[in-house]
């Protein structure tokens, strides 16, 4: 099954690491390139299931460029 981000539902996710036990994969850590959410697929549903996560924590359709800056950049990145 295609892995998508539990928070913004983007398909742009990358595996960061796999936890091994007795030579088998126990869990995988994923990172979303769009909303930067990071999760382990063994976590409770409240963190990794879009249907079980609280609505306020979801970011589907959010314009990430419009997020507030805590320290505004001095200029555009080079």
């Amino acid at each position: 099954m295609k892995v998508i981000c539990p928070r913004c539902e983007s398909p742009g996710v990358t595996q960061m690491h796999a936890g091994m036990e007795d030579g088998k994969v126990l869990w995988r850590v994923w990172h979303c390139k769009d909303c930067a959410y990071t999760w382990r697929d063994s976590e409770p549903a409240e963190s990794v299931d879009p249907k079980m996560r609280p609505a306020w924590a979801q970011m589907k359709g959010v314009d990430f460029d419009s997020l507030r800056q805590v320290i505004p950049p001095a200029r555009k990145p080079t």
């Binding site: 930067a36 959410y37 063994s42 976590e43 507030r68 800056q69 320290i71 950049p73 080079t78």
Partner: protein, 493 residues
């Protein structure tokens, strides 16, 4: 200016300061006092580490540090939590019995406050334990550290108790302006992380400076440190004062420093150092994170760092913290060191101040006990507290009580609130600066302050109550004299 003044330690405190040189030493020492537990069962990274951390921190008096060394999927890796999670653990570090009352711990820190001789020892990098292992290529933080989600709705995996060292980008050779602070770090890619600071913090100032002038900002993220380091790195000292020197002064024993590959000073016995460089003007989506007010911070765009190298001891310990809705290790870790500088700064101008308790959520509520010198005096003390470096951002609710009310005894504070407060002794100062993550802010970063004067009533002094007015000479005689002076000035007389 530093003097040669050193702290005088009891025999017990001296012995502890001499034997505790690292996190490992401290965990062993805590274990001897039944204040450190090795969790005996295998745990999942989530939610087990979170839940056990909360349980350990719930016993504010004598909750133990907890070591996990059977983390499923992370064979051989270790996590330590709640190392500063109880006042008992702090008391032991200061050489006091673990049941020492919080008020006495406060005055022990105050007693050590005046010592200012830096006690720093240099260790050649090749002899520093932190350099037992070095990784320069194919860095993957998710592999190197047993990372986990601290609160269920955090945006990722946080390194939340690391002490971050950075040099002033414009004066990289100035030791005093080298900053050590604790900032939340969210791991992003395998070799990238965000670091959250605000312009009011030293690190925030340095990030602004680096980007404004196009200068590199190199940092060393120290994980698993001498217990004095996280305790005192979070103390608001002056910008040009060294947190290393300050931590050593407070411990009354030398801290061992070495030089990281990127040129910053680091603790020679730290468990792991992640060296990183600010990616100028680059930002990444960060958060939310369950923060010390007990609510999640928002999702923001935050400066991004790239890892340039990692050094670590053999079998390193990932020391982390549970932070969220209080009471948590965060409150115990920084509470006394938030209270102490406010007390010291007030005491300089107002010797009537008896004690300051700013334990609550990094000082969002503070209680000051003070002897009224004259009527209304406590309110002036409150205003001064709002002008201290920490008070400027954090002291939101201030309660003033008499000098014979112990601000660390909340029953006594409630007595003062019940019997000494008049409704018109409450002052609200609107639209003041505020910590952006305080959910009570009107808008992030701006909100209202509250002062409750619950000190005993005192008659106003009566100077001016019965004024006898001076009769000012006036009338035709004075007019004639003015005319005469005018003529004298013009030489017509």
């Amino acid at each position: 200016m530093a003097t040669e003044k050193t702290v005088s330690l009891s025999a017990e405190a001296g012995a502890i300061a001499a034997r505790v040189g690292s996190l490992r030493d401290f965990l062993t020492f805590l274990g001897e006092h039944e204040q450190c537990v090795r969790w005996p069962d295998p745990v999942m990274p989530e939610p087990d580490i979170r839940n056990i951390s909360v349980a350990a921190g719930n016993n504010v008096a004598t909750g133990p540090a907890v070591i996990f060394d059977q983390i499923r999927g992370y064979p051989g890796k270790r996590v330590a939590v709640n190392v500063h999670g109880s006042f008992g653990n702090l008391a032991l570090l200061l050489g006091l019995p673990k049941t020492t009352p919080v008020r006495d711990l406060f005055f022990e820190i105050i007693r050590r406050w005046g010592s200012d001789k830096p006690l720093l020892e240099r260790v050649p990098p090749e002899q520093a334990p932190v350099n037992e292992n070095r990784i320069d290529k194919n860095i993957n933080l998710y592999d190197l550290l047993p990372l986990y989600r601290i609160n269920a709705n955090d945006g990722g995996f946080y390194i939340a108790k690391a002490c971050v060292v950075s040099r002033d980008p414009l004066e990289p050779d100035n030791f005093g302006k080298q900053n050590v602070g604790i900032y939340r770090i969210q791991v992003m890619g395998p070799d990238t992380f965000t670091l959250l600071s605000i312009p009011a913090h030293d690190m925030g100032r340095q990030m602004l400076m680096a980007e404004q002038h196009g200068k590199p900002l190199k940092v060393s993220v120290m994980i698993g440190n001498h217990p004095a380091m996280p305790m005192f790195a979070a103390t608001p000292v002056g910008y040009d004062e060294s947190e290393f020197a300050y931590a050593s002064q407070m411990m009354g024993a030398a801290l061992r420093l070495t030089t990281a590959v990127n040129g910053t000073d680091i603790l020679a016995d730290t468990e792991m150092v992640i060296e990183g460089e600010l990616q100028l003007n680059q930002r990444e989506v960060e958060g939310p994170f369950g923060e010390f007010p007990g609510s999640y911070s928002g999702v923001r765009k935050v400066p991004l760092f790239r890892v340039t190298g990692v050094s670590h001891r053999n079998n390193p310990i990932f020391e982390n913290i549970y932070i969220g809705k209080g009471w948590t290790e965060h409150d115990t870790l920084i509470g006394l060191n938030t209270s102490a500088p406010i007390y010291a700064q007030l005491k300089k101008d107002f010797p009537e101040v008896a004690a300051v308790n700013a334990l609550y959520q990094h000082g969002l509520t503070g209680i000051i006990s003070v002897r009224n010198r004259f009527s209304g005096f406590a309110k002036s003390v409150a205003m001064r507290a709002l002008g201290t470096p920490h008070g400027t951002m954090y002291l939101k609710n201030l309660i003033l009580v008499d000098e014979n009310v112990d601000p660390f005894d909340l029953n006594q504070v409630m007595w003062a609130l019940s019997t000494r407060t008049r409704a018109n002794d409450i002052i609200v100062i609107p639209n003041m600066p505020m910590v952006p993550i305080d959910p009570a802010a009107e808008v992030p970063g701006k909100g209202h302050r509250l002062i409750i004067d619950a000190t005993s009533f005192m008659a106003p002094d009566n100077l001016g109550a019965d004024p006898h007015l001076v009769d000012r000479p006036m009338g035709p005689a004075i007019d004639a004299l003015m005319q005469r002076l005018n003529e004298l000035q013009k030489g017509h007389a």
